[in-house]
């Protein structure tokens, strides 16, 4: 059979290859790098030609200088921020998933607490931060909670939608097979929700870095947020830009890790009609 062969050729690829980017992605990446380089050249030209002082707007070369000079400082600042962001990511998403599961199991819980979740969402995170500092003190805890809060909502909304986005015919099949609610959940709903959950995780992995930095602004003596404020007070614009860049690298790395995890977990085609 001809179909036989197509499967044989598709299957032997080692698993690790499937999560690495393909040629289309490499091309997109190349174009992005090209665009970025052109922007940097333009930036450098404008700053040099108009003689903008580096304490106002540093040229890319100034930022590069600050990066290499302050690298130990930046790494040292990154460690607590990454820790806070990561723990906040875990906490926020775990709670969001558990709440989503309870919503799917029990309509009444959803009716009661979904409005509460929306209320929490509408309060600006910078407004909650001081409250959390009073409650939780000056340590790592308020930063984790702020990062968690920022992750919570997108994951809650997306996973509730995902748990419900089940092919209705699969539910009928499970009904014919007399499957219990839990069996439907474990065998159908979780898998149907995974694509939705991963798109939420991709949002929240970048947001949790923001949350940790906001937390550090309210009160900290270490971390990226702290270094940003310090650089601002010192009028050290090159280091300020280098710190911003570090924050961005942390967020992008997080995004890349979650994307690779997504490719590794979701091997089927979620859009395919069966």
């Amino acid at each position: 059979m001809s179909v036989d062969r197509s499967i044989e050729t598709a299957a032997p690829l080692p698993r690790i290859w499937s999560i690495l980017p393909g040629p289309e992605v490499m091309r997109a990446l190349g174009m992005a790098v090209l665009g970025l380089s052109l922007t940097l050249v333009l930036w450098q030209l404008v700053v040099t030609l108009f003689g903008v002082p580096s304490y106002l707007v540093p040229a890319p070369t100034d930022v590069a200088g600050a990066l290499s000079r302050d690298l130990p400082l930046l790494v040292e600042a990154a460690v607590p921020t990454i820790t806070e962001a990561f723990l906040g990511f875990l906490l926020g998403n775990t709670v969001a998933l558990l709440v989503a599961v309870s919503f799917v199991y029990n309509k009444v819980i959803e009716e009661m607490f979904y409005p509460v979740a929306i209320l929490v969402k509408t309060i600006p995170i910078v407004a909650i931060a001081p409250v959390l500092k009073i409650i939780l003190g000056n340590g790592i805890e308020p930063k984790i909670v702020i990062a968690a809060l920022i992750c919570f909502f997108p994951t809650l909304v997306n996973s509730v939608r995902g748990f419900r986005a089940v092919n209705p015919q699969l539910l009928e099949l499970m009904h014919v097979l007399s499957a219990s609610k839990t069996e439907v959940f474990l065998r159908i709903r979780i898998y149907s929700a995974l694509p939705y959950i991963f798109s939420a995780l991709k949002i929240s992995v970048t947001m949790c870095v923001l949350g940790a930095i906001v937390g550090e602004w309210i009160g900290a003596n270490q971390g990226i947020g702290y270094l940003l404020l310090q650089s601002m007070f010192d009028f050290n614009a090159p280091r300020l830009f280098a710190t911003i860049l570090t924050a961005s690298v942390i967020a992008i790395t997080g995004f890349a890790i979650v994307s690779m995890l997504e490719k590794w977990v979701i091997r089927w085609d979620p859009g395919a009609a069966m």
Partner: protein, 282 residues
């Protein structure tokens, strides 16, 4: 009421034929009894009567097709048998018991128009699903080895493929294997080949007949193809539209052994023409 008489009469003739050597019919019990079933959808203000006053008896081992215009309630009737829809009036019995009990004991299996596979699960895991949920115990029942079920639908070697790697016809075979794996006494099929192209449909028709012969199952088959209905069935139930009732039943007196050549045979054409008349009248 006229209808009822016809059904009863045809039932009697068949049992009378039992001596003629048809093993399947000689011990024929009633597999499915539908007694005065009506199904109404929607609330009292905007209620839509999907089927009305339907009575039908399907004997064990019989192959019965339901045909009719779209929206005539043939799928609704099948889903009422499968306990997906509860009848508003009347009752359905499967081997004398309730559809819910039959569902729990895996007395029947259902095949849908779409293959309804779990896209994240390998073919073999999809076939194994009926063992693993709903309190089914593969050791207690006389369930089939999932590999054997795949062999029955000629899909050996595809155990570890994902559904997305298969063609539409192959996916539908997987869903048939999943239905057969519990060795059901009754197979309910809701336009199972409706989404496939004609060549694949022809092949699967022949294979379905082979499996039906081997297993002695009772099959209730919903289709909108008159040819398919005549080719497969011993009896074709024609459902009328508005009110959605049984408009008539046609006995298909074609030979037991049927192959693809029969699809083009004039005898088949006669039956199809007859059905078309009945549909028009209904």
């Amino acid at each position: 009421m006229n209808m009822m008489a016809t059904i009863a009469a045809s039932g009697a003739t068949r049992s009378g034929d039992a001596h003629s050597g048809d093993v399947r019919l000689s011990q024929a019990r009633n597999a499915i009894e539908i007694d005065n079933v009506a199904v109404t959808f929607g609330g009292s203000s905007r209620a839509v009567r999907a089927i009305d006053n339907v009575s039908l008896t399907v004997r064990e081992g019989e192959f019965v097709s339901l045909i009719g215009h779209s929206g005539c309630g043939k799928s609704t009737l099948l889903r009422t048998i499968a306990d997906i829809i509860a009848p508003t009036e009347g009752k359905v019995a499967i081997f004398g018991g309730t559809p819910a009990a039959a569902r729990a004991s895996r007395t029947f299996s259902m095949v849908f128009q779409q293959s309804v596979l779990m896209p994240w699960a390998k073919v073999i895991d999809n076939v194994r699903l009926p063992f693993e949920v709903g309190g089914a115990n593969p050791k207690a029942g006389n369930f089939m080895d999932p590999h054997e079920a795949l062999k029955l639908v000629e899909l050996e070697g595809f155990e570890d493929a994902l559904p997305s790697e298969l063609s539409g016809g192959m996916r539908q075979r997987v869903s048939i294997a999943r239905a057969l794996v519990t060795r059901p006494k009754v197979l309910l099929m809701d336009e199972p080949f409706g989404a496939l192209d004609e060549l694949v449909r022809d092949t699967l028709n022949v294979e379905l007949l082979r499996i039906w012969k081997q297993s002695g199952m009772t099959i209730v088959f919903v289709t909108h193809s008159l040819h398919e209905a005549v080719f497969l069935s011993q009896r074709v139930v024609v459902m009328s539209r508005r009110p959605s009732r049984i408009g008539g039943i046609l006995e298909i007196d074609l030979p037991e052994e049927r192959d693809l050549a029969l699809k083009d045979a004039p005898e088949l054409g006669h039956h199809v023409a007859r059905l078309r008349d009945m549909l028009g009248a209904g």
